[in-house]
């Protein structure tokens, strides 16, 4: 199978977020290697991937960090147990196309259109303020709807984490 990252980058200009042939949705997960909130989500992001990837959802980790090398990205992924395909986004091409502001943040595309943008779940209420465990699982709910054949209307929530820095 062609890695999704390549497929997306093949589109001219800003990356077209295409749903690969046969897939029901694409989830971009914006993360940052030195953001503690983003890192604490690693097991949960990986869990989502393992659950929904076999059901026809494509996942891509996006590192919108300037100055992060390919090898540092791979090392970070290995450390945190990520098996989700990952891509660097130093020029914020994915950031702009998806409209992401924060890490961690999820943006879900169906047929090239954003249908969800925001938090993974409600574990964090604000920076430094979290519940013991999440009670609402926004991304999982959206994906469960999609694989069950019900594509929900567009929704946006406030993601809590580290601001994606503007480029110089």
């Amino acid at each position: 199978m062609i890695p999704l990252a390549l497929l997306l980058m093949a589109a001219a200009g800003s990356p077209g977020i295409l749903t690969p042939h046969g897939e029901k949705a694409v989830v971009l997960l914006f993360i940052r290697s030195d953001c503690p909130i983003s890192n604490r989500y690693a097991p949960e992001l990986e869990r989502l991937y393992r659950e929904y990837s076999p059901k026809g959802v494509d996942f891509l980790l996006v590192y919108p960090e300037t100055g992060l090398s390919e090898s540092a990205m791979r090392e970070h992924g290995r450390e945190y147990g990520y098996t989700i395909p990952a891509v660097l986004d130093p020029k914020h091409e994915y950031v702009q196309r998806a409209g992401a502001h924060v890490t961690p943040e999820a943006v879900v595309f169906v047929s090239g259109k954003v249908i969800y943008r925001g938090r993974i779940d409600d574990w964090y209420i604000d920076i430094g303020k979290s519940r013991q465990r999440a009670s609402e699982h926004d991304v999982a709910d959206v994906l469960a709807g999609i694989v069950a054949g019900r594509t929900p209307p567009f929704r946006e929530t406030q993601a809590v984490g580290c601001a994606i820095e503007t480029l110089l």
Binding site: R40, C162, L168
Partner: protein, 627 residues
């Protein structure tokens, strides 16, 4: 004219441009870099322009929320050392800088880079102890509160002036308390669930029985802690056989983290002459918070029987705690704030040291009030839906404590801590009339003060609450003995041993009373049972030897005297006793050697000197006789 006006406007505008080197670096170097540097807790470094630029928007987000730098006390609620609160003006400067594109500025404006000591903050410690086995924090899940017992291998009493914890893995340790366990009362719990350590947010140790030895120092660590050694005259005592218990708050990071902290200790030769004491305000017994209650309050107070200097304060609550406040009401009615935290967050609990000690006159009342929010609106509520919350050491339980480290001022020959302890325990009795600890401690206090008849009564009260408490039976026996009530003392000691046959302290005391009463066979049996369990106790070996000697059981007594002298080679009295026994046995040459050892330790030992002369004379006689 018009041109001049333009110039006038332009100059101040230029001067106001916020740059990293001129305006931001002084803030970052002072407030951020101590933790934001390699090897420290913070997730990334903030040591130069490039670091700050990479996190500029994030810096604004966390500072405007006052999440960073972490400084929970409300402004003006206490004058604390190392305050890390940014002023409103500083917050505006940071926001302006980022809004203006986070410019670097002139290199010549840059202040000198901050300097940090690598490794141990005070150089190589005098003693380093390590957690025996590493512990692995899982990648995900709730926070872990765990305790690890670290035995300390000491040959003699030492006085500690500084302690430093090096977690080994700074990212995962949120805060730590080092608890002194003088009686090794928690050792048996370590590993109880198959993993190193044992769970629990708070630990309670048993004090050494009999001795008035209250905790005196906060041994608290959080990331970024600056080590401040105690003045030599305020060091604390570390005895051989003491365990350190590391009480850790660990936070999963997203990947498994292995942890094996080390503790460094710095000693001083000077025994302390000033003794601070930790005073706890609490009313955990009143903690019974209905689910859904937004505003549950617990309070406590103590009127100080002596003048004190408050050196530091440590508030403690768990997740449902919302607001913490402590203050002092002086005898003239004026009120002085000690601390206030309006949005309590256990993640940032800390010991706060006052920049200058807070002097409170005798008769001052110190008070605390803690408010709890056990509703679903409190996002930190560990239970969803909320449940009834009571006092306890699990994360779903609550606590409400304000600890003060105070230095009582002496106004008589007596240790002023005794008055403080008495006031604390009498306050405890007001809160909990049937409290074992208060009765027991009041008994111990009377015993220390020589009021042994009162001690007997308090201990008896304590035993009415907890009849099966062997420690209290043993202490009661000691008080009864001091009152010359030997039969009752023996009965209490036998009862203590019936409750806990392995209670060596009681066995030793029983042997001693029996010996004093002339029941040599009884005493010998108890001492023998003691040394079977504790063969390395020089006092017991020596006492058993003396009893056996009194029974004319020389052959059995000799090994006891040998053991005692071997166990405490620096004790001239034990060497002298051994010599005397060897001489009685006819081993004159060996006896001479023992007396010589005693005299080497203390040349002024009269008994050893006299015995040596006699032994030498005898040696000479037997020598000439055999020729």
């Amino acid at each position: 004219m018009r041109r001049a006006l333009v110039l006038l406007l332009a100059v101040p505008a230029l001067a106001q441009t916020v740059t990293f080197t001129k305006d931001i670096a002084p803030i970052v170097f002072h407030y951020c870099s101590p933790c934001h540097r390699p090897g420290e807790v913070a997730p990334f470094s903030l040591l130069n322009y490039s670091d700050a630029r990479k996190h500029a928007a994030q810096i604004v987000a966390v500072t405007e929320r006052r999440y960073m730098p972490p400084w929970p006390p409300a402004p003006g609620s206490g004058d604390f050392a190392d305050e890390r609160r940014l002023t409103d003006a500083q917050l505006r400067t940071i926001a302006d800088w980022v809004r203006e594109g986070a410019p670097e500025g002139r290199p010549s404006d840059l202040p000198p880079a901050p300097h940090f000591t690598e490794g141990w903050q005070l150089g190589t410690p005098d003693l380093i102890v390590r957690m025996p086995r590493p512990y692995v924090v899982p990648a995900s899940g709730g926070d872990v509160f765990r305790n690890f017992v670290i035995p300390v291998d000491l040959k003699s009493v030492r006085y500690v002036r500084a302690v430093e914890l090096r977690p080994g893995n700074n990212r995962v340790v949120h805060h730590a308390n080092i608890v002194i366990d003088r009686a090794q009362s928690l050792r048996h719990r370590d590993g109880e669930d198959g993993q190193p350590g044992f769970p629990g947010m708070d630990v309670i140790t048993e004090g050494s029985p009999g001795a008035f030895d209250p905790d005196s120092h906060f041994l608290f660590w959080k990331p970024g802690t600056v080590l401040r050694p105690e003045p030599d005259d305020m060091s604390w005592r570390l005895d051989p056989g003491t365990d350190l218990v590391l009480n850790l708050h660990l936070q999963p990071t997203g990947k498994p983290e292995t942890l094996q902290p080390v503790i460094g200790l710095w000693f001083t030769d000077r025994a302390p002459t000033r003794f601070p004491m930790l005073v706890q305000l609490e009313d955990d017994g009143a903690l019974d918070i209905p689910p859904g209650d937004h505003h549950f309050t617990v309070s406590d107070h103590l009127t100080l029987p002596v003048a004190v200097d408050v050196l530091a304060i440590y508030p403690h609550a768990h997740y449902v705690g919302k607001r913490v406040e402590a203050w002092a009401t002086l005898p003239d009615g004026s009120r002085r704030s000690l601390i206030r935290i309006d949005d309590w967050d256990i993640n940032w609990q800390a010991v706060y040291q006052y920049r200058k000690p807070v002097s409170l006159p005798k008769g001052t009342t110190v008070s605390m009030r803690i408010t709890y929010d056990n509703s679903a609106d409190n996002p930190r509520n560990p239970s969803s839906p909320p449940i009834r919350v009571r006092g306890g050491n699990r994360s779903i339980d609550e606590m409400g404590h304000v600890w003060l480290q105070v230095l009582p001022k002496k106004d008589s020959d007596e240790d002023p801590r005794l008055d403080l302890q008495e006031a604390l325990m009498r306050r405890r009795l007001e809160k909990y009339p049937a409290d074992f600890l208060a009765h027991y401690n009041l008994g111990a206090l009377c015993f220390t003060r020589g009021k042994t008849a009162d001690a007997v009564r308090w201990y008896q009260e304590a035993l009415r609450v907890e009849p099966a408490n062997a420690t209290a039976r043993n202490s009661l026996a000691a008080a009864l003995l001091a009152e010359n009530r030997q039969d009752e003392a023996i009965a209490q000691l036998r009862e203590a041993l019936r409750i806990d046959p392995s209670y060596l302290n009681a066995r030793f005391n029983l042997a001693r009373v029996l010996g004093a009463r002339g029941d040599l066979a009884g005493a010998a049996a108890e001492y023998a049972a003691f040394v079977r369990e504790q063969p390395d106790d020089a006092d017991a070996q020596s006492a058993l030897g003396a009893i056996l000697l009194a029974q004319h059981r020389f052959d059995e007594a000799l090994p006891c005297f040998r053991a005692a002298a071997r166990l405490r080679p620096g004790d001239d009295g034990l060497q002298t006793n051994l010599g005397a026994l060897l001489a009685m046995h006819g081993d004159i040459a060996e006896a001479v050697a023992a007396f010589e050892r005693a005299l080497a330790i203390d040349p002024a030992n009269v008994k050893a000197r006299a015995n040596l002369e006699r032994a030498r004379a005898q040696l000479a006689r037997s020598g000439s006789h055999s020729q």
